[in-house]
Every structure is written in structure tokens, then in C-alpha cells.
Amino acid sequence: METEFLLPDPDNPLTQPFWAGCAAGELRLQRFAGAARMWWPPRVMDPDAHTTEHEWVPVSGRGTIYSYVVPHPPLLPAYEALGRYNVVLVSLDDDPRLRMVGNLVAADGDGGFVPVDAATIRIGEPVRVVFDAVEGVPLPRWVRA
């Protein structure tokens, strides 16, 4: 199917449980059997124990802004059509070594989300995850906590 946005494959065998979690409103991270820590992005093998056996653990979905940017045109048409948007890097409270790329948004009052004005973003401010489906893929984004 031709899509306008760049999207992952939510049916990829390794990452499917992550996207299924997002669809269920739950942020999940990968933890290998017997391991104390979680990983993001997912891996096929635990780099310490060398097991491939793993589970997907629901986490709090809370974090803080590590950094952010405001891309200006030229961009791909689908993204240029969004108008001025931000991209944030969020350090997760459940393990601050883990960071996720997303957008800082606010509810538009109509069930959707709009970008927050980047001029108001502060590194270190607390955020929590929300899920916003784009062409059927429930992308995690972030709102102010």
C-alpha cells in the first residue's frame, strides 16, 4: 500500500508485540529472560547472556525531554503538510538510559493531537505517552505530564 508518511512494519515478528501494545494503549519494552534491564530499540539477542528468549514488559509511559528539534522545509510532502512541528527525544523514567524519538503534542479536543509550540519546550520537562494512529500504525507521542 502506498503511504505518505514513513512508517514501520507493525507486523515485523520482532517488533509486533511493541506495536500491539501501542494499539492496546500500553507502552512495552523488551526484556530478555533472566535479565534485570530492558532494551530499546529491541534486539534479537541479549548482548550479555546471549539468549534470544524475551518478553515485552508494560512500563509507566512517563519520561522527560532529553532534546528536541524543529525541522524546517524542505521536508517530505506529508511532513511539510503538518506545518511547524517538533521532534523530541524522551528519556524514559523506567530506565533513563532508554530514549525514544517522538513528538510533543497536545490534545486537540476532538480526539486527536496537535504539535506543541517548540518555543515552549524545555529540556528536562516531564511527559507521558499517548498513542496516535497514523495510517493504522499507533505511533507513541508525548504530552506534558
Partner: protein
């Protein structure tokens, strides 16, 4: 260890332009033939070829068109702009171990055409690491490095005025280099601060140029070099590097410290193979697809401590001839030409021959890097 066992005997380049009428293959052949002529070595003697995986011209095409002998060593290095110094390193290792006797390393690229923008050709369904960044609109390399730059500013209290030192120094060098695309185009701090954003906090002048062109170098064993026309420039040490915590192609966000890129790993190997250290380097050529790569590389390779890279640039430190560490003395990717950093290697050779248009007096050691933020490589040259 390489330790000066191999020399760069020839350098060559095409003109740098936007919309060059000739093909990338023609540009590659012209640059390589120019480098061979410069070295005084016939093409039939070439038996080693080294370039980038992103190089559009295959070894067999180059060999057929320039008329090499039997080619007994050929190598391609991956990871985009991280490859440049690695191509010279592989060629030097091959000469040092007898796998070939005359090696050519080169890069040809028509990057000025908008159709060549890699980010605009992304597949719609992402399967690699970019699936964790691009869906949210972090689309281009400049967006990826801007994320690091914002954090750097915040964590170390650095400023855009400090970052401007990079663009201004390189432009000053280009203004003295007739081959540079930005020759005759001065740049002021006011122009920098008022320039349009590309990806906040990075503006137009924090970005490299878009260039069509090609460059090449010729390597031979050190014992042959004194018989050739130019002052020999020796490959003193070289290294490639990344760590298991580094992610590929700029999105180095997922390791313990996003401000510690692959250069740290390359640096440890580079200095291990060298008889001198950062304090002995007279002139530097540091990969500058984006200006923040300069402070990050200065830190990674030990020219200053973590977080001190932008403070290092103060007081004209990067400017030839008398700065603390004259850097990108041909103008670099930001003001001479962006040919995936290969012009940095050729300019490094010029400095050690004493023929740069921004010559550093008594330059006898040169430090050169390839792209930081991707699996990378670096060289130390001496004369």
C-alpha cells in the same frame, strides 16, 4: 602498525560545481588520472582500488576506463561519510602487506542534484533503525544532528555564537582557495545569526555544501616515495571505529551517552598506533557535514575534554595560519566542496607538501577524520 610504511604520492581532483555536465564515472576517472600524473606513475601500475560502498562507480568500470594492470586488491567501506579515511587506511594496509603495490583511493559524487538527496528516497515502510526515528518526522541527517546539538548547547552552556566560529573559519579559508565553491563569498557573524533555519538549532551555514566532483589519492610503499616528483606524505596511523553502543547513521541516541559518538572508539585505536599525540598535531581536517561535528570530533579524538569542544574554537583557534589548531584549511565540506570528506584528505596532503592556499607554517603532522555520528575512520599523516 602502519608507522610511515606507506606514502601518499599523488593527489588529484576535478573542479567542484553544481550541475556538472559529466558523469560520475568520468569525474572519477579524471580525478584518478590527475592523481597518477601528479605521482608520476602510469595507470598500468595500479593494482589496488579502494572506495566507499556509496561510490557509484564500480572498481571494474574504473579499471577498464583508466587502464590499470591486474587489480589484486579492492575494498569498499560502508557507512557513508564515515568511510573516507578508511578507504586510505585499507589501501595503505594493502600496500604495507604486499597485496598490491600502487593503490588508488577515491570518491566521485554528484550530490548537487536534488534527486540525489538520500533522505528524500527513503522507503515508505522502514525496516532498519530509522523505523525508530523517521516516522515522527526526524527525516534528514541535519535533523538527526540538530537533536545532538540542542542537547550539547543545554548540557554545556554553549552558544550559537560559538558554533558560528566553525562556519566562519572554514569560509575564511575557502575565500583564499580558488578551487573552493565559496571562494569570493565572505560570511559574517551577522549573516550567520540571521540565516534561515534548516533544523533548529541549526541554520543554513551549519550545513555542508552540495557538490559535484571527484578526488583521488595514490599510495605506494615508503621506500619508493622519495623517487617520485613530490615530497612524500606518510600514512603514520589510521583507524576505523564504532562501539557496540553506537547506532548507525547519525541516530546515536540509544547508547549511554548520545554525545559520545563513534570517534571515541576510532580515537583509541588511532593514538595507540601513533608516535605522537593530539598536542603535536599542527593542522587538522575534520569531517564537517554539519558544524556540530567539529566540537564532537575535537572531544572524541582528545584535543579537549568532553563539553569543551565549542570553547576550544574561541579566539580564532580553527583559523590558518596561526590558530591553535588550523582546521579545514581548504574550506572543508562547508565551504570548499562536499565530496563525502575526500577533499579533507587531499588538503591534508597539500599541507604536508607545503602547497595549501592557507599554508600552516612548518606543518609536519596532519590529523584527518571522516564522519562523526556514523561508524567512522581517521588518519594521521606526517612528512
Amino acid at each position: 602498525m602502519l608507522k610511515d610504511r606507506v606514502a601518499i604520492a599523488g593527489i588529484g581532483q576535478t573542479e567542484f560545481a553544481k550541475g556538472h555536465p559529466e558523469s560520475e564515472l568520468t569525474l572519477a576517472c579524471r580525478a584518478i588520472v590527475a592523481a597518477l600524473d601528479d605521482a608520476g606513475i602510469p595507470a598500468r601500475e595500479v593494482d589496488g582500488l579502494s572506495s566507499f560502498t556509496m561510490e557509484p562507480n564500480r572498481e571494474v568500470e574504473v579499471a577498464r576506463n583508466i587502464g590499470t594492470g591486474d587489480v589484486t586488491f579492492f575494498s569498499q567501506i560502508g557507512y557513508g561519510g564515515g568511510a573516507g579515511c578508511g578507504t586510505v587506511l585499507h589501501a595503505a594496509m594493502a600496500v604495507a602487506t604486499g597485496q598490491c603495490r600502487v593503490a588508488v583511493a577515491w570518491r566521485a559524487r554528484k550530490r548537487a542534484d536534488k534527486a540525489s538527496r538520500m533522505w528524500a528516497q527513503s522507503p515508505r515502510v522502514l525496516t532498519d533503525d530509522f523505523q525508530w526515528s523517521r516516522p515522527w518526522g526526524l527525516l534528514r541527517p541535519v535533523d538527526e544532528i540538530a537533536m545532538i546539538a540542542r542537547r550539547y548547547f543545554e548540557e554545556f552552556g554553549a552558544t550559537r555564537e560559538q558554533l558560528a566560529n566553525v562556519a566562519l573559519a572554514f569560509r575564511k579559508h575557502a575565500n583564499n582557495n580558488p578551487a573552493a565553491m565559496m571562494h569570493g563569498r565572505p560570511l559574517t557573524l551577522e549573516q550567520y545569526l540571521e540565516a534561515r533555519w534548516i533544523s533548529e538549532p541549526l541554520c543554513l551555514y551549519d550545513n555542508c555544501l552540495e557538490t559535484d566532483g571527484a578526488l583521488a589519492v595514490v599510495l605506494v610503499a615508503a621506500d619508493r616515495a622519495p623517487d617520485l616528483p613530490h615530497r612524500p606524505v606518510y600514512v603514520h596511523a589510521g583507524a576505523q571505529g564504532f562501539s557496540a553502543d553506537n547506532y548507525h547513521m547519525m541516530i546515536n541516541y540509544f547508547g549511554p551517552d548520545p554525545l559520545e559518538g563513534p570517534s571515541y572508539a576510532a580515537a583509541r585505536q588511532l593514538w595507540r598506533g601513533a608516535d605522537f599525540g593530539p598536542a603535536d598535531v599542527k593542522v587538522a581536517q575534520i569531517y564537517d557535514a554539519f558544524s556540530p561535528l567539529i566540537p564532537l570530533s575535537l572531544e572524541g579524538y582528545g584535543f579537549c575534554e568532553r563539553g569543551e569542544g565549542l570553547a576550544f574554537t574561541e579566539g580564532g583557534a580553527l583559523e590558518a595560519p596561526n590558530g591553535r589548531l588550523p582546521t579545514n584549511t581548504g574550506g572543508g565540506g562547508m565551504s570548499e566542496a562536499y565530496v563525502h570528506g575526500f577533499n579533507l584528505i587531499v588538503e591534508g596532503v597539500r599541507q604536508l607538501r607545503g602547497t595549501s592556499t592557507n599554508q600552516v607554517p612548518d606543518a609536519d603532522t596532519c590529523f584527518i577524520t571522516s564522519g562523526e555520528g556514523v561508524p567512522t575512520s581517521a588518519l594521521l599523516l606526517r612528512n
